[in-house]
């Protein structure tokens, strides 16, 4: 499997996560964007046992269009009692959260910033209906995709139908991804939907954009999550259970699916995961869990292929062979994934890392994977135009 030749992003890191915080993903009608972010920020500060950070990186995608609010760095720093602190927004579509964590990691690695926080926040219910649908299309090519009335669900559907055609698989073959995610979410108090579903429920779900149905796609919700990072040496002094950032990598591909050489190949995910494995000094076989970007079931299959868990065209097999279950070879969506924890847009990448940290700390409760040492988070923007991979390691 080729992960590309570029090794520029594979230097060893000396950074660990010392604090995490999150809100439930939900339709938080009564909570504003700044209040949502505040909850996650305060939870992470309390978890790390610190009052301040040296820099705040905000991962967000839709506030400019749905809440008429940009300049979130200054706004959230001020609102959270951190006035004066370095703070900016990082945007990479739905990969904004993972990208914000990466900037926090780079800032600490540079030696310039001591404690850095990444907060992912998305407030999708400030507008509803067709305006909200349109905001989601901002991650596509406005001139050559969105103008044709394409939606995120339609892009997922175009990939899913072609995948089914090329690899001779049916709708039922994807059911396991959705069933697994919903089963896992039962144990996650921060999940949007905490109810297991059956294969029949999946198969009978209403169409969103054929062949994508309601349970192939992920429900959008408001949410915020935060992580705090610092140098590993300092982390060991500060908290009982720091989690090391063994690797951080971000790669891109053409944002428009039609511009890719092979639409069924997630080149950015392959590059990011490959660089992350190299930097961490492990391969996919060593990973004990994977939080991936399960915005659509077909995207799960494609990511499993891009990240080395299945050959091309073989990702769908993991939906049915037990591999992705909590006790399986590579547990995925262990807290429900986007499908059941909920899709909090640009906050997703931070949620994923919060969940991997919970797993590696052994505090994932009913979501706990048995005794994990390595975990990876893979966060996608758009239909894979950006991919961010972080490999975390439990420090013993």
């Amino acid at each position: 499997m080729s992960y590309g030749m570029d090794t520029s992003n594979s230097r060893p890191l000396d950074v660990s996560i010392i604090g995490i915080g999150q809100t439930q993903v939900a339709e938080h009608w009564s909570v504003s964007l700044r209040h949502l972010a505040l909850k996650a920020i305060q939870a992470a500060l309390a978890d790390a046992g610190v009052k301040k950070v040296g820099a705040l990186y905000v991962g967000n995608m839709t506030a400019g269009t749905l809440s008429h609010q940009q300049h979130l760095g200054a706004m959230l720093a001020d609102f959270a009692g951190l006035r004066g602190v370095e703070a900016v927004t990082i945007e990479a579509a739905e990969a904004s959260g993972g990208a914000a964590v990466r900037q926090a990691v780079l800032a600490v690695q540079s030696g310039v910033v001591d404690l850095a926080m990444a907060v992912g926040v998305e407030k999708v219910t400030d507008m509803v209906g067709s305006s909200a649908t349109m905001a989601q299309t901002n991650s596509m090519d406005a001139d050559y995709e969105s103008v044709h009335g394409i939606t995120a669900a339609a892009l997922g559907a175009l990939l899913m139908r072609r995948y089914m055609h090329e690899h001779g698989v049916g709708l039922a073959d994807f059911a396991g991804f959705s069933v697994n995610a919903h089963a896992n979410a039962e144990g996650n108090p921060f999940a949007m939907y905490r109810r297991a579903i059956s294969v029949d429920t999946y198969l009978q779900a209403p169409l969103v954009a054929d062949p994508v149905n309601l349970f192939d796609s992920a429900p959008a919700g408001d949410g915020a999550a935060a992580v705090i990072v610092c140098r590993t040496e300092r982390a060991r002094d500060m908290v009982p259970h720091p989690v090391r950032v063994a690797a951080s990598a971000l790669a891109t591909d053409a944002p428009a699916v039609h511009d890719r050489r092979d639409p069924l190949y997630l080149a950015a995910a392959n590059l990011a995961a490959g660089r992350a494995y190299m930097a961490a000094g492990i391969g996919p076989d060593q990973l004990n869990l994977l939080e991936l970007h399960d915005s659509f079931t077909v995207m799960v299959a494609l990511q499993l292929e891009a990240a080395g868990f299945a050959p091309r065209g073989g990702g769908w097999i993991l939906a049915g062979n037990g591999d992705i279950a909590r006790q399986g070879r590579i547990p995925i969506s262990t807290h429900g994934g986007l499908k059941a924890r909920g899709d909090a847009g640009g906050a997703t990448g931070v949620y994923q890392l919060v969940e991997v940290v919970q797993q590696l700390r052994g505090t994932a409760g009913r979501c706990q994977v048995p005794d994990p040492h390595w975990g990876m988070a893979l966060n996608l923007g758009g239909a894979g135009g950006t991919a961010v991979a972080h490999v975390l390691e439990r420090l013993v």
Binding site: Y144, G149, A157, L159, R162, V208, A209
Partner: protein, 134 residues
């Protein structure tokens, strides 16, 4: 008001004018000035035939602002016969169901009416291609 954004794309929207790479010969649509295959400048214009086949297709039921009046509508990835793939709507389907591999040809149709400021955007869609009668 966003007239100019659409006006700029007139040659692409109405005539599928793309580019050809001087060096490797790759034909590019949408035009992009730098060849993604060999990273060389690619600014020689090339007009595509508008013929191709359906690579994949779907239907949009829940449409974005500006497209609701057209929903449900068919969308597709169309592989042009010269190589590139484009994203577009399928139109004039009548009772036909789209299928992968279906031959299609480009036609000009209304893409959207631009909100309350009324800029109507025209551009390419694709319809089933009926073999030429010789």
């Amino acid at each position: 008001m966003e007239l100019t954004r659409h006006w700029r794309l007139h040659n692409q929207r109405y005539s599928l004018v793309g580019e050809q790479c001087d060096r490797c010969g790759a034909r590019l649509f949408p035009p992009r000035d730098v060849c993604p295959e060999c990273a060389e400048p690619a600014q020689e214009l090339f007009t595509f035939s508008g013929r191709g086949q359906v690579y994949s297709y779907s239907t949009v039921y829940s449409a974005p602002e500006g497209y609701q009046e057209y929903a449900p509508y068919s969308v597709a990835l169309v592989q042009l016969e010269e190589g590139p793939m484009v994203t577009a709507q399928l139109t004039d389907l009548g009772d036909d169901k789209p299928e992968i591999g279906m031959p299609v040809e480009m036609v000009t149709r209304r893409l959207r009416a631009d909100g309350d400021q009324g800029v109507i955007v025209y551009g390419y869609k694709f319809r089933k291609h009926v073999k030429d009668i010789i």
